[in-house]
Amino acid sequence: MAALTAMDIGRDVQPSGLPHAPAEPARVDIPTLYNAHWRYLVRLAALLVDDTASAEDVVQDAFVALHRKADALRDPDAALGYLRTSVLNLSRSVIRRRQVARKHLKVAEPEATAPADQDVLLRDEHRATLAAVRALPRRQREVLVLRYWSGLSEREIAESLGISTGSVKSSASRGMAALQRALGAELGGAS
């Protein structure tokens, strides 16, 4: 029983950033990661692919990929980062597949992605903002979601997307400038 106590409180350590004892590195198990991060990761994917069903598939696939990548499991920090990057890559594939399908349909569709089903629940100003986000080039949209929704640092975004921090900065400022142009009326002139 004692060995199974959730928190070994007698041995409290500074929670993160400190090196762990090298002999027994911290282990992370996938079910805990899944339970802890499922909601966050599905939301992240949904912000990129615009529909919840695809977002859930993306996250399931990301966990399948994590199972295959045993190395990532040795370091819990790496595991979360690996999952995030998987979700970004898989979301990109979803969008790509969707674009290919659309081409074959040969039906005239508007350039921007069709509004997501859940948009009916949103307020007008949010809807306008999200439409502007959807109209952004893929990279800019990813950077803005990671920066302003996930709250990642520039370095973390760069690592997640496999690009330089310089690219993160320029994508973010270009994306914000585009939003500013698109939403100028919503923002109003005053204050």
Binding site: A3, L4, A6, D8, I9, R11, D12, V13, P15, S16, H20, E24, A26, R27, V28, D29, I30, P31, T32, L33, Y34, N35, A36, R39, Y40, V42, R43, L44, A46, L47, T52, A55, F63, V64, H67, R68, P76, D77, L80, Q118, D119, R123, E125, H126, T129, L130, V133, V145, Y148, G151, S153, K169, A172, S173, M176, L179, L183, E186, L187, S191
Partner: protein, 361 residues
């Protein structure tokens, strides 16, 4: 990255609303796709393949608790793997008997909120219990994916309908800054004492911002605001007058209000600006344009609030967020307590670990 804070705010709000619309806070986490289960621990794969999915997930849950918290490999999962045909959870944590009175659990924070490093994780219990050990043992907390050691502390809480008991979780020190924290309590079906059983699991993921720690000195009448350890600003303040002194100890920002009404003995003031609540009885950080002389001359004159010059209060309002820490090491009032708000940091760590109202070990 952008010079327009209004655009940033609009973007954050819209993304957050969209994220919540895609997956609500209340929606339970669905089971993991079955195809991925066997790879977790090859040693135990036979069990997974033989058992139906539901049973496999139960094992996964227990393995999660065991692996996530013991840190080493010495005892990992043996109790589970050795369970054979019997339900493995029974050999791990005490189950509630059939017909036990249900104890419903809920979280105060919603998922994916960003809070300050002093924010306690607050859970509510729908009825008093008599044993909190299974609850504590069923808890896994990850910071950036890494298991950390903390503890729950139980208190009676009045004023919240259907939530008579509050459990707060914290580490010995504040949360790390700029971190993702995930809390999982797999308490469903576990015993909460004789005749009592937990009705549901809890899961919460939140983020911490920069480490904002404010120290207010009653001696110098100065507030020092630190941002990730570096001094960000110093502001003059006026604290509580001798007959209404400001409480001593560590407080945490509980709510923010751009313009609110404040009432108390001898005052009833609406339109108080840039308010940040610190205690339930009503201590705030706020703008006090009527009190600038006392603020500038180091005279304690308020009803217990921390009065700031309007421009300072506005800057501070923009800078701080819920969960940020505000310390009053030498204020002249009584000691801050948990009953007064987020007084979690005023309980010593050794006292905290015992669990408060209920023993946790």
């Amino acid at each position: 990255m952008s010079d327009d804070p209004r655009l940033e705010r609009m973007l954050r709000d819209a993304l957050d609303a969209s994220a919540r619309a895609s997956v609500g806070d209340e929606r339970p986490v669905p089971p993991m796709r079955s195809g991925s289960a066997p790879v977790v621990a090859p040693r135990r794969s036979r069990w997974y393949l033989a058992a139906p999915l539901a049973a496999a997930l139960l094992v996964v849950a227990v393995v999660a608790i065991v692996l996530g918290t013991t840190g080493g490999s010495a005892g990992n999962g043996h109790a589970v793997a050795g369970g054979g045909g019997t339900s493995p959870t029974q050999s791990v944590l005490p189950q509630a008997p059939p017909g036990a009175k249900p104890v419903h659990l809920s979280m105060q924070l919603s998922d994916n909120t960003q809070v300050g490093v002093g924010m306690p994780v607050i859970a509510y219990l729908s009825r008093p219990i008599t044993d909190a050990r299974a609850f504590e043992a069923a808890t896994t907390v990850l910071v950036n994916g890494r298991a950390v050691h903390g503890s729950w502390y139980f208190e009676r809480r009045s004023g919240l309908t259907g939530k008579p008991i509050e459990a707060d979780f914290r580490l010995e020190h504040y949360w790390p800054a700029h971190a993702t924290v995930s809390v999982s309590v797999r308490a469903k079906g576990l015993s909460a004492g004789p005749g009592l059983g937990f009705q549901n699991n809890l899961a919460l993921t939140f983020r911490t911002g920069a480490a904002h720690v404010v120290t207010v000195s009653d001696k110098t009448h100065q507030m020092t605001v630190r941002d990730d350890g570096k001094v960000w600003a110093k502001f003059p303040v006026s604290l509580g007058a001798p007959q209404t002194p400001t409480m001593r100890g560590t407080k945490v920002i509980m709510e923010k209000g751009l313009s609110i009404c404040m009432r108390g003995p001898g005052y009833d003031e609406c339109g108080v600006k840039d308010t940040q609540r610190l205690t339930l009885s009503g201590e705030y950080l706020h703008s006090a344009p009527w009190n600038v002389f006392n603020i500038e001359h180091g005279i304690d004159s308020s009803n217990g609030c921390t009065n700031l010059a309007p421009k300072d209060a506005a800057k501070l309002y923009k800078f701080l967020e819920i969960g940020d820490v505000v310390r009053y090491p030498d204020a002249s009032g009584s000691a801050m307590t948990m009953a007064e708000g987020y007084g979690d940091w005023d309980v010593s760590w050794s006292a905290w670990k015992t669990g408060g109202l209920y023993r946790t070990s």
